[in-house]
């Protein structure tokens, strides 16, 4: 009897979460309806104009989609060397040693720093450096956001991939060593191939974080409503444009912002789906 009650409780909880997700999707879809009716789905997605002036009002999401992809992928590329080194340091070279624990704690601490603090640090510390280096006049833009984003996602990429590396059985590594392999060769031919799906998964997780990150990016990207002309240019991501403009938006503009929210949701869902497919393929191939 108790078992039955517990079971139905679990079932109800799971159902509630499903319904909640459905409710969020419903709200996003219904409130963005006006935008898609006005421009059509592809019309909205492929239009890079974002003009809120009432006389020439026109809304398209392409600038922000591009801004999001630029910053997130640049951040991912920038974070790879660091998170990969940390993962190898903790999961292979200094596995189980005290120093690995210290490094892990410090890296995990990075994940605990609030986004707004990263934003402030990027604004007052990293931006002047970029100005001094002559990257851009104001310092704001894709590069600045991506640099700070990269640091923000290092913990996500490194801790999980380090975990996967440390899970490679000693038995397997000893087999490679017993054949005369050096440590580097063991890492290259045994540890990395065997942890590959896990490592890919952790980078996709990190990419997902970077795509949705809002506060720090909003403070650093420059908030211009057009497709960034290059990495030194300013722009807006899907998350940052919503954060910047939702307060004073109504009517079609609000609907367009919610439509961008819906798109961001779809993109993140797709990224997760791709991650799952990659993992499945790598672990069964």
């Amino acid at each position: 009897m108790k078992d039955k009650i517990f079971k139905s409780f679990l079932f109800a909880a799971a159902l509630f979460i499903l319904l909640l997700l459905a409710a969020i999707v419903y709200a996003l879809v219904s409130r963005s309806g006006e935008t898609f009716q006005t421009y059509g789905f592809w019309g909205f997605v492929t239009n890079s104009e974002w003009d809120p002036r009432s006389a020439t009002e026109e809304y398209g999401a392409l600038s922000f989609i591009m801004g999001t992809l630029y910053t997130a992928f640049l951040a991912l590329v920038l974070c790879v060397p660091f998170s990969f080194s940390v993962a190898l340091f903790n999961g292979e070279y200094f596995k189980g040693k005290k120093i690995a624990g210290v490094v892990r704690s410090v890296v995990d601490l990075l994940a605990g720093i609030p986004s707004i603090v990263y934003g402030l640090w990027g604004f007052y510390t990293v931006r002047p450096i970029l100005i001094d280096l002559g990257v851009s006049v104001q310092g704001f833009g894709i590069i600045l956001s991506a640099l700070v984003l990269a640091i923000m996602i290092i913990p996500y990429a490194s801790s999980l991939s380090g975990e996967f590396l440390s899970m490679i059985s000693n038995n397997l590594k000893e087999a490679a060593y017993s054949l005369g392999a050096t440590r580097l060769e063991v890492v290259k031919h045994v540890s990395l191939p065997n942890a590959a799906s896990g490592i890919v998964a952790s980078y996709i997780l990190a990419l997902g974080r970077a795509l949705g990150e809002t506060m720090a990016v909003t403070m650093l990207i420059g908030n211009t409503n057009r497709i960034p002309g290059g990495l030194r240019d300013t722009g807006n991501t899907m998350a940052s444009v919503i954060a910047n403009q939702f307060g004073e938006a109504d009517g079609l503009k609000l609907s367009a912002l919610i439509a961008i929210g819906l798109l961001l949701f779809i993109i993140t869902a797709l990224i997760n789906l791709i991650a799952k497919l990659v993992m499945k393929k790598l672990s069964h191939a």
Binding site: S169, V186, V190
Partner: protein
Amino acid sequence: MERINTPTAQNAVLQLKDVSVSYSPGKYAVKKVNADIFPHTITAIMGPSGCGKSTLLRAINRMHGLYANIQTTGEIILKGKNVLAMDPMVVRRMAGMVFQQPNPFPTMSIYDNVLAGYTLNGIRLNRNEKDEIVEQSLKSVSLWEEVKDVMNKRGSFLSGGQQQRLCIARTLALKPEVLLMDEPTSALDPISTNKIEELLLELKQQYTIIIVTHNMSQAARISDNSMFMYLGELVEHGNTTQMFTKPKHKRTEEYLTGVFG
């Protein structure tokens, strides 16, 4: 095939001189072991759990070098050279090792598993050389007929016994001087065990084999010589038949008759 009838220290392929291994300072898992191993013989190392038999075996191919806390002292002379003074990578290629758990590389095909020793050492081979090594090595462990049509499948798709034979083939592909086996059949079923034992008897025509085993009847079935270890010391080392029928030491006799184990 040249057979050695009168073993003398000169024609020993492997000599252990005062070999000691410690896991922490002052605590010895292996204490001053002296032994000569002769070519084309199977030597079984026996003894109760924790007696140091695996530790001794792993000293020979410098596996202890992977762990900073383990110290090996004495001399281990393989083909006239002290392995403790050699590059461990070279030693490990000369002394192949087969482990308790079959451990083919799961990301590699059967074909690539056999060649793993070459890939891992960065030795490049052309297609013909590769094919030849793979065929020869798999034939020498009687696995060729069973896997020749599924070469591109993963090694993990084979049965436990086949996996272990694949691991032996992988080791033999590097043409080692000695074959070190750490309880290679303890994770296998009786039929697979039997196959491996028959295989070892064939392989000794070409190789020198040292096998750590928990299984006394296995030692009696396949080994020429036996070593009995107890608390890190080599208690007795000699002809297997003699040791099983007339052990020189009381400890050996007690172990063989099951007084302790």
